[in-house]
C-alpha cells in the first residue's frame, strides 16, 4: 500500500526531468519552423511580408490568441481543456461595454470601467468552470463546453445581439492599436502575460503543483498538494486571460461584438500543443506556446497576403500544422 505512492512521485520526477530535455528540442524545432516560414514568406511576398510594419502587424494580431494560449497552457498542463475561451472573449468584452455604458460612477474613466468589467466577468466565468471541474468533478471537456454555450448566450443577451461601440475610449483603443517605442502595445501585454506565466510555471511551487496535478493527480494529492484548489485556479487564470484578450481585441476593433471570438479556443489549443505542452498533462512550456502562437500568426498573415483562395488556404494551413508537428517528432 505505502510503497506504490512512494514509488510514483519518484517516477514522476524522473519523467519530468526527461520531459524538460524533450521540450527544449521541441522549442528549437519550432524556431526552425518559424525561420523557414520567414524565408518562404520573404521569397514569396518580399518586402510586403518582411517589412517591420507587417511583422509587428503579425505579432499584434497574434497577441489576442496568444494571451488565451498562455492561460490554456496552465489548463492543459493539468490534463484539462478550456473550450470556452472564445465565447468568454465575447462575453467579457460585452460585460466591459455594458459596465462602461451603465455605470455613471465611472463616466470620467470609461476605459477603466470597461477593463474592470471584462476582467471581473473573466474571473467569474473562470471560477464557474473551475468549480465545476474541481469540486463538481465534471469532465473539463463537458464543463467548458457548457460554458462555451453559456458565455456566448450571455454575450448575446447582455448586448441585445448588437455590437457596442467603443470608438471614444482612447485608453482602451491604445491597448489595441497603440505603440511604445514603435512596439505594439498589444504585443507588450502579450509578452508581459507570457513572462508572468513563465515565472509562475517555472519558478514557483504553484507551477510545480500544476504540472504535478496533471502528471499524476493521485501522487500529487498524497504528496500534500491541494489538487482541487490547483484545478480551480487554472480555470480562473484562463478566465482572466480571456478578459485580457477581450481588452486587446475590443481595443483594436473599437467595438465589443457578441459574435467575436468564434473558434479562438481551437487556435489557442493548437498553439499550445504545437508548442510542446502535452494534451495528456504533466508537461508544459510557456516559451513553446509563444512560439506556437507566432507560427500560426505568420501562417495566417502569409496566406492572406498571397490572396490564395480559401480552400487552398485551409489545405495549406492544415499541411503546415501537420508538418510542424512531424518536424518536432523527428528532432526528438
Amino acid at each position: 500500500m505505502t510503497t506504490t505512492p512512494a514509488a510514483s512521485p519518484a517516477k514522476g520526477k524522473l519523467s519530468a526531468g526527461a520531459g524538460i530535455k524533450r521540450i527544449d528540442y521541441q522549442e528549437y524545432a519550432l524556431v526552425g519552423v518559424i525561420v523557414l516560414l520567414l524565408v518562404a514568406g520573404g521569397i514569396l511576398e518580399g518586402s510586403s511580408f518582411l517589412s517591420k510594419d507587417n511583422l509587428f502587424n503579425v505579432l499584434r494580431q497574434g497577441s489576442v490568441v496568444g494571451v488565451l494560449a498562455i492561460g490554456m497552457t496552465f489548463v492543459i498542463a493539468t490534463a484539462g481543456i478550456d473550450l470556452s475561451v472564445g465565447s468568454m472573449v465575447a462575453a467579457t468584452g460585452i460585460a466591459g461595454g455594458w459596465l462602461m455604458e451603465h455605470f455613471g460612477a465611472f463616466e470620467s474613466a470609461p476605459s477603466l470601467s470597461f477593463i474592470i468589467g471584462a476582467l471581473l466577468l473573466g474571473v467569474l466565468l473562470g471560477a464557474v468552470n473551475g468549480a465545476a471541474v474541481s469540486y463538481g468533478k465534471v469532465v473539463p471537456f463537458i464543463a467548458t463546453l457548457a460554458m462555451l454555450l453559456i458565455a456566448r448566450g450571455l454575450a448575446l443577451w447582455i448586448s441585445d445581439k448588437t455590437p457596442i461601440s467603443l470608438f471614444d475610449l482612447e485608453t482602451l483603443r491604445w491597448f489595441g492599436t497603440g505603440e511604445v517605442l514603435t512596439i505594439p502595445s498589444s504585443l507588450i501585454v502579450f509578452l508581459g502575460v507570457a513572462a508572468v506565466g513563465w515565472v509562475l510555471l517555472n519558478r514557483t511551487p504553484y507551477g510545480r503543483y500544476v504540472v504535478a496535478v496533471g502528471g499524476n493527480p493521485e501522487a500529487a494529492r498524497i504528496a500534500g498538494v491541494k489538487t482541487n484548489r490547483i484545478l480551480f485556479s487554472v480555470y480562473v487564470l484562463s478566465g482572466i486571460c480571456a478578459g485580457i484578450a477581450a481588452i486587446l481585441l475590443c481595443g483594436r476593433l473599437a467595438s465589443a461584438s457578441p459574435v467575436a471570438g468564434q473558434l479562438y479556443e481551437l487556435d489557442a489549443i493548437a498553439a499550445v500543443v504545437i508548442g510542446g505542452t502535452s494534451l495528456a498533462g504533466g508537461r508544459a512550456t510557456v516559451v513553446g506556446t509563444v512560439l506556437g502562437v507566432i507560427t500560426f500568426a505568420i501562417v495566417f498573415n502569409l496566406l492572406t497576403l498571397m490572396d490564395l483562395a480559401v480552400e487552398i488556404q485551409q489545405i495549406t494551413k492544415g499541411g503546415i500544422i501537420l508538418a510542424a508537428v512531424l518536424l518536432q517528432r523527428r528532432s526528438n
Binding site: G136, G153, L253
Partner: protein, 346 residues
C-alpha cells in the same frame, strides 16, 4: 461532498432564472409597443389581413446576428400588429435542430408554417411533410430544394446585391482603380451570389478597368474582418474602394482601415442595411453605401401567411392566389437617399 449536490442545483436555478428574466424582459417590451401598433394597423391594413383566426407557426435560426435577430423581431412585431396567434421557434443553430423544432410545430396543426431555414436543402423533407399534411409553407430567403415543399418563397436578391454594387463601383470609380472584396462565409450561396453578381457586373461595365486586388472571406464576423483587412492593407499600398458582404462584418473592416489611418485613401460599402451603417453613410466619410437585404421580408412573409390562411390573393392582384415567388429589390442606399430607407435599418 455537499458541493457536489449544490453546484448542479445552483446552475439549474441560475439557468431557469435567466430564462424567466429573458422572457419577462422581451414580453414587457413588446406589450409597451402594442396598443399604438394595433391602432395604426387597424387603420392602414386592408381587410384581407384581418384574419386573427389563422394559426401560424414561425421557425427561424438562432437570432445571434444583427440580421437574423431583425428577421425574428420583425416577424413577431407583424404578428402582434395583425393580432395573430403565432407560435415562434427561433433558437436552432443546426439544420437537424431546426427540423426537430418544425416536427414539433406541425404537431399542433397550424394553417401556415413560415420558415427561414438554417439551410434550404436539409430542411426540404420536413417542409415537404408539412405540405403533405395540408399545412401551407412560406419559405423565407434560403430556398428549399423542391418547389413542392413550399407554396411561396420570398427572399432578397443576393446576385442583385452584387450587381448593384458593381454598378455603384463602376460609376464612382469611373471604371478605374484597385478594389478589395471582403466576403461572407465561403461555400454558401449567399456569398457565391454576392461575389458573382459583383464580378459579372464590373466585367460587363468596365471590362478589366477595375482590378480586384484582394478577395478574402471573413465569415460575416467583425473580428475576422478586422484581421483579414489588416493583412490586406499591409500588402496593398493603393486601394480605392472596399466591397464587403455584410454591414456588421464591415465595421471590423472599417476599424482596420481607420487604425491604419488610411480612411482618406479609400471608401467602402456594406450589405444588409443596419442602423449603424446607415448612420455612418449619413455622416459621410469612409462608408459610402449599403445594399438592402431587408430582414423585414419576414414581416411580409407573416402578412402573406394570413392571406394564404384565409384563402385570399394579394390585394389588387387579379389572381385569387398569392404568387409563388417574390424577390425583393437590392436597393442601393447612399447619402442621397438614406433618409428614405432609415426606418428599415436594423
Amino acid at each position: 461532498m455537499e458541493f457536489k449536490k449544490v453546484v448542479p442545483v445552483l446552475c439549474a436555478g441560475v439557468a431557469l432564472g435567466l430564462g424567466v428574466v429573458a422572457c419577462g424582459g422581451s414580453s414587457d417590451k413588446d406589450n409597451a409597443g402594442t396598443p399604438a401598433a394595433t391602432a395604426t394597423s387597424a387603420a392602414t391594413e386592408d381587410t384581407a389581413a384581418q384574419a386573427s383566426d389563422v394559426k401560424v407557426a414561425f421557425s427561424a435560426p438562432a437570432a445571434d446576428h444583427g440580421w437574423t435577430k431583425a428577421v425574428s423581431d420583425d416577424a413577431k412585431a407583424k404578428a402582434k400588429e395583425l393580432g395573430l396567434d403565432m407560435t415562434v421557434n427561433d433558437s436552432a443553430t443546426t439544420p437537424a435542430e431546426q427540423a426537430d423544432q418544425i416536427e414539433t410545430l406541425i404537431q399542433a396543426k397550424p394553417d401556415v408554417l413560415v420558415v427561414l431555414p438554417v439551410d434550404g436543402a436539409p430542411l426540404t423533407p420536413v417542409a415537404q411533410k408539412a405540405m403533405d399534411q395540408g399545412i401551407q409553407v412560406i419559405n423565407i430567403d434560403r430556398e428549399f430544394s423542391s418547389p413542392s415543399a413550399f407554396h411561396t418563397v420570398i427572399g432578397g436578391d443576393n446576385y442583385g446585391i452584387g450587381v448593384q454594387a458593381g454598378d455603384y463601383f463602376a460609376d464612382q470609380l469611373k471604371c478605374k482603380g484597385n478594389v478589395v472584396e471582403i466576403q461572407g462565409i465561403a461555400g454558401i450561396s449567399v456569398t457565391e451570389q454576392r461575389t458573382k453578381g459583383f464580378a459579372d457586373e464590373i466585367k460587363k461595365r468596365c471590362n478589366g478597368g477595375i482590378k480586384i486586388v484582394a478577395q478574402q472571406p471573413a465569415d460575416f464576423a467583425p473580428d475576422k474582418g478586422l484581421s483579414v483587412m489588416e493583412n490586406i492593407l499591409q500588402k496593398n499600398k493603393s486601394i480605392q474602394a472596399v466591397y464587403t458582404h455584410d454591414d456588421d462584418m464591415g465595421e471590423g473592416v472599417a476599424a482596420a482601415i481607420q487604425n491604419a489611418g488610411r480612411d482618406k485613401e479609400m471608401w467602402m460599402t456594406g450589405a444588409g442595411g443596419s442602423k449603424k451603417v446607415m448612420d455612418q453613410i449619413k455622416k459621410g466619410g469612409l462608408w459610402r453605401a449599403t445594399f438592402l437585404y431587408n430582414p423585414a421580408m419576414s414581416a411580409d412573409a407573416v402578412y402573406l401567411a394570413t392571406l394564404l390562411g384565409s384563402g385570399k390573393g394579394l390585394p389588387g392582384f387579379a389572381a385569387p392566389d398569392i404568387p409563388s415567388r417574390i424577390t425583393l429589390a437590392a436597393t442601393t442606399v447612399t447619402k442621397d437617399n438614406v433618409a428614405q430607407y432609415e426606418h428599415l435599418g436594423f
